[in-house]
Every structure is written in C-alpha cells, then in structure tokens.
Symmetry: C2
Subunit: 373 residues, 2 copies
C-alpha cells in the first residue's frame, strides 16, 4: 500500500483541514498527534494502552534505536513494528535533531554529520543516504530526511548555509530511497528568516516528497515567533500533502497550528510532564505534587473518562507520585495522552462542523463543552 493523503474537508474560518492518510500499517485521521517513543517505547505505556486510548500513530526516534539496540537487531527481528509490538503506523525522525543537539560531540562534513554516541562515545557518521536506509531497515511508515534543526538564535549567514545544506541533503535522500511503500517527508528549515523559509519551501516542494514538515520551531524562539514563522511556513506548503509541525507542543500551540493548516504533531510534553507530576486537564495544568491534593477525593480531571480519572483520586495520584511509584507515571501518562487524543478528536470534529474559531476564545471551556456532549 503506497502512502496516500486525502483532504476530506476544509474549515470555513481558517486553513485547518480534516484529512486522512493511508500507510501499510493502516489509516490515520488528521489532524493527529503522535506520542513519542524515544527508545522503542512510549514511556510508561504498552502498545495495548496506546490502542485503548485511540492512538493512531507513534513517533520513534531513529537516533536512540540506532545506537541501542541497533538497527541490525531490529531489522533481523522483523522491523520496528514487530519489535515494539505496535501494529499501527510509525513515523521515524531522521536522528538529525538529536545529533545536532550533541554540540561538541558532533561535526558537520560535506558527506553528513559525524558524532559520538552519548552512550559509549563510539564514533558514527550519519549521511542523508544512510538515514534513509536506516529508516527503511526499521520498516518505518513515514521517514524524515536528514536535516539540521537550526538553533535559535542563529545569524542569517549561518541559517542560510545550513538551509542550503538541508536542501542538498533532501535531494540526496530522495535518490537514496529504495522502498516506495515508505513515505518520505521533506523538512522546511530557514530559522526565523521568512525569506529563507520561502527559499527552502520553494526548493523542497519542487521535489517529489510525500509530505512536508516545518522544522526548527519550538526551539526557544518564543510563542510570537513560533506562531508567525509556523503560520508563514504552512502557507508555503502544497495543499495536497500532509504538513507536519515537528516537536510542537502545548495544547494551545496545537489549536493554533491546526488552524494554520498543519496535520501532524509530535511532542514529549504529555509523557514527560506526566512523569514530573503535571497533568493536562480541562481546567488547565495541574501539578499533582501540591499539598492541597493530599486528601482530595476528586479525579484529576472531573470532565475526563479515562481509566485514571474513572478510578483514582487526586490524593492517591499525589501519594503515588510522592512515593515514587511506577503506577504514578503510568496513570498520569495515560491521562495526558487521553487529553491530547481528546483534543485532536475535538479539533477534527470542530473542522467538520466549521467551528474551530471557538477554540481560540477559550480552549478549556471548549474542551469541557466537547467532552460533555
């Protein structure tokens, strides 16, 4: 089954669209949020938990599984889906984001990027070609090209050189692809410079990618720049292919980005926050460590019907977290992912019903409203 994306409906008041794409491992309704499975596991979740909460697709980090257990092991065992016990689609990143984050441990060459493993210091070279092959060996449904996520702030000069390199690497990535059933997405970089974004998008969208991502956002540029550059970049991308806003983010960012025309999202926030004791609720963020919850019999989110909220009190969740119990990570992660799933479901419904603008007024009220229907 070759990758295939359809826009089902456009929103009346924004660039938002309801869509669907098809992969060898099933369909995904968009806009969709992808939980992050850094090391071949969405932290604290089993595949059946993810299926239960309606998760359609997960993101796996190529860098982490490349280093451990290694691509060869996963390939031999039948690919990442079988390895993880996950039957639905997987998007893999290129590893570039992690490699470029290594700072002094990496070096860019004409060929690609040389780096030392954060685990054992061993030396590795990632090239655009190798990154495509790795993702093919993993059996990814959607692969990302190797790019540089330009740090913020960066000079115009650096941003331009980096962006041109990302474009050259994108061309090499397409030439390296051997498996047509694996979708390959190009990534628009350009830092916070609109003309560079424009130049990059013009080059990238001239190439036969199955979808396009906006990269280099959510890297400390602040909400105003994120939204300005995010919306600007979305407008440069073709309507007939999925648009993926990488690594973003907070519920309010997702609402904004869906209205800007993005279809796919990933972020560690719901899972990482859960392990730190922070819950997303219809009434806003909740820090379960607070003393006021010591004997609070209410569920974390009174408008939520997830397993956590149906069965456990804030008092119990606080106790589990304070006691360092694994069950705290489990229950809070489950709830936060349900919150994100619900948010995306509600956004899809809002597009269907042409009422996404209400979400901008009060996302929390909107969540409560949608959930009580």
């Amino acid at each position: 089954m070759a990758f295939n994306f359809t826009v089902i409906k456009k929103d009346a008041s924004s660039a938002a669209r309801l869509g669907r794409f098809v992969t060898a491992h099933g369909e995904v309704e968009t806009p969709a949020f992808m939980p992050v499975g850094t090391q071949g596991s969405v932290k604290a979740m089993s595949p059946r938990d993810l299926e239960e909460i309606g998760c359609q697709i997960v993101l796996a980090n190529t860098y982490h599984v490349y280093l451990r257990p290694g691509v060869e092991v996963i390939r031999e065992l039948g690919g990442l889906h079988r390895f993880m016990g996950w039957k639905r689609p997987i998007l893999t990143d290129s590893g570039g984001y992690q490699v470029f984050s290594l700072g002094a441990l990496r070096k860019i060459t004409g060929e690609g990027v040389q780096f030392q493993s954060h685990l054992d210091g061993s030396s590795h070279l990632l090239t655009p070609e190798k990154v495509v092959r790795i993702q093919e060996d993993l059996g990814s449904d959607i692969a990302m090209v190797l790019d540089e996520c330009i740090p913020h702030p960066s000079s115009r000069e650096y941003a331009r050189a980096s962006t041109l390199r990302t474009i050259r690497w994108a061309e090499r990535s397409l030439q390296a692809r051997r498996k047509s059933e694996m979708a390959l997405f190009g990534i628009i970089q350009g830092g916070m410079y609109e003309d560079l974004r424009l130049e990059c998008a013009r080059e990238m969208t001239g190439l036969p990618f199955d979808g396009f991502a906006a990269g280099g956002l959510g890297v400390g540029e602040g909400q105003a720049a994120l939204r300005a550059i995010g919306e600007f970049t979305a407008g440069l991308l073709p309507e007939d292919r999925p648009r993926y806003l990488m690594g973003v983010g907070r519920p309010e960012d997702l609402i904004f980005a869906v209205r800007a025309g993005y279809d796919l999202f990933d972020c560690v926030l719901p899972t990482r926050n859960a392990r730190n004791g922070t819950l997303f609720t219809a009434a806003g963020k909740m820090n379960i460590r607070r003393a006021e919850y010591t004997n609070d019999p209410r569920p974390a989110d009174e408008s939520c019907d997830c397993y956590c909220c149906r069965n456990f009190s804030r008092a119990y969740l606080r106790h589990l977290h304070q006691a360092g119990e694994i069950l705290a990570a489990y229950l809070l992660t489950l709830h936060n992912l349900v919150f994100y799933q619900r948010l995306m479901e509600n956004l899809r419904r809002a597009i269907r019903e042409d009422r996404t603008e209400f979400w901008l007024q009060d996302r929390n009220l909107m969540l409560q409203h949608s959930e009580s229907e």
Copy 2:
C-alpha cells in the same frame, strides 16, 4: 459478611488442602499467593492488571501507608480499597516486620515499639491496640497482630522472651478489635526452636483468631531450617482455619509449603525480581540482561500465554531493561505475577486431582505439563 474459611478437599499424599475463604470484598480460593503492595500499589501494576491476571487478594504494608500518606488520609477517603482502586480482598500486615527491621531506629517498651520514621525521622509508637485500630481504619479484610519477627540467629533466651511478648501482644490485639467483619490472624513465632514454636502455637491457637500465620521464616535460616520449622509449625495449627506462611517465597518453597498444609503466601520476589530483570519461567529463572538475548526473537517463557509472552521478544525485553524503560518493569512484573498465579492454580488443581507429589520431582516439567493441558 464475617470472615469464613472452608476446607474443600484434602490432598491424598500430603497435608495440602484446597480451601476457600469469604471476606466482605469477595472470596479467595486457597492455596493463594498475595502480591505485595508496599506503598498502596503493587509496584508497576494497576488494579486492572491484577484483576486481568486473576489475582484474588493483595497484601498491603501497614508501616508504609501509615507513614505516607497516613492512615487518617486513607480513612477519610473511604479506606484502602477505595484509595487504591482495588475491589478485591486486602490483607494488611502489622507493620512490625518493618519496624523491627529498623535496628537502631526502634526500641521495644512494655507498651509496644517506639521507632523513628525512615522518611523524616519523626517518632512513633506502635502498640498492639494501635496496630489493630490502624488496620480497621484502613478497612483491611484480614489484619495481622503486632509481633516481633525474631532475627536469625537469635539466642534461645532472646527468642523465648520475644515469643512470650508476642503472645501477650496477641491477647491485647484481640481485646482491641472492634470490627467483627475484619479477620484477625495470630502469628506463631519461636525462632528456630521447636519447643518455643510449640509453646507459642499452643497459646495462640487457644485464642479466637480467624487464622494463624507462621512468622520469622525466610529470614536467612537456610532452606533446610525453613522447611523443617515451616512444616513443624504447620502441623501445630488447627485444620479449620487458614494457615499463612509469611514472606515466603520462591516457587519451590511454595510447592513445599502447600504440601505442608499452608494456604496463604506473600513475597516481593516476583515483583522485585522483575524490576531487576529476572523472570520466572517454566524453564527456570531467566536474567533478561544476558547478552545472549540481544537478538533472541522468542518470548521470555515459551509456555506462557501472558500479555508479555504473547507480544514481545526476549530481545525487546532486554532492550527495554537496558534502556531503563518503565515498560520493562511493567512487562516483567506482569509475567512474573502470572507465573505465580499459574503456579498456584496448578497447585490447586493438583490437590483436587491428588497429584501434588509429582511437583516435588520436577517443578519445571510440572509447570510445562500443566500449562500445556
């Protein structure tokens, strides 16, 4: 519903018996193994996981929940069952085992035992009366009397004085009980001295307890002494009340102890070993950290049908454990508890069919045989 125990069938070749007891939170078929929920949670498991694998009853540690979050919090929230979201029976220990393990941080007085919290150094006094009240406040189905688990080795003189104190405390515990629906079990101590065990059992079984436990075993005395004193003590206990062998243990110990006539067991081994990467399988113990499993596609236990073994390879479990993923603790704990559940189910069936003696010959073969039926 008052506590009630029935022996359904006795084994032809040993003192083993098939039984059933009834509590306000449902029935338990014996022999039964209780997973340990130290801090109000069986580590890495949710209540629905425990229900799924057929867990009938859990043990909760009074010491830990007394210190955090505190008994008052749990009582206000409707008791330990509601707090934990666990609807089936709970047995609570007295806290004595943990307090006596504190060493220099505790001091025995005529009244009870004074100790300092391992969490914040605060000072507390546990008396037999207070321990009964705490367990009543928790809403325990089966409470244990305050006793001293005599360390090994101990002099005869110390063991005798301690045992006599345990007997006096047991009498005070019975007088303190106010809730008749909570079963109260006496504990037989006496160290490794058969005459002290006899004296203790004679006194304890003269008191109107709902069941009796053998304490002070599995404390480093070695397998021979454990079995000798364990079997000797079981023989001193009345047939018409449940017999609980506290804190024991390994699968082979459980097989032995069931044949000696014990009905109830608890141990942290299946859950603690899981977090350390050790699995119980029909082929013996397996350390998932071993390099030989790096690319092993087989399930951990090829004869097991648990969620872990149905869906994941040894290679994946090893990877998760090496990467420190929470999912490793979840999957290994689930499997180990299923192993213990299966062991107990098979032992109950063996009693029904008068073939417990086969288990002594080869427990692993027997497990495989029983599971493939």
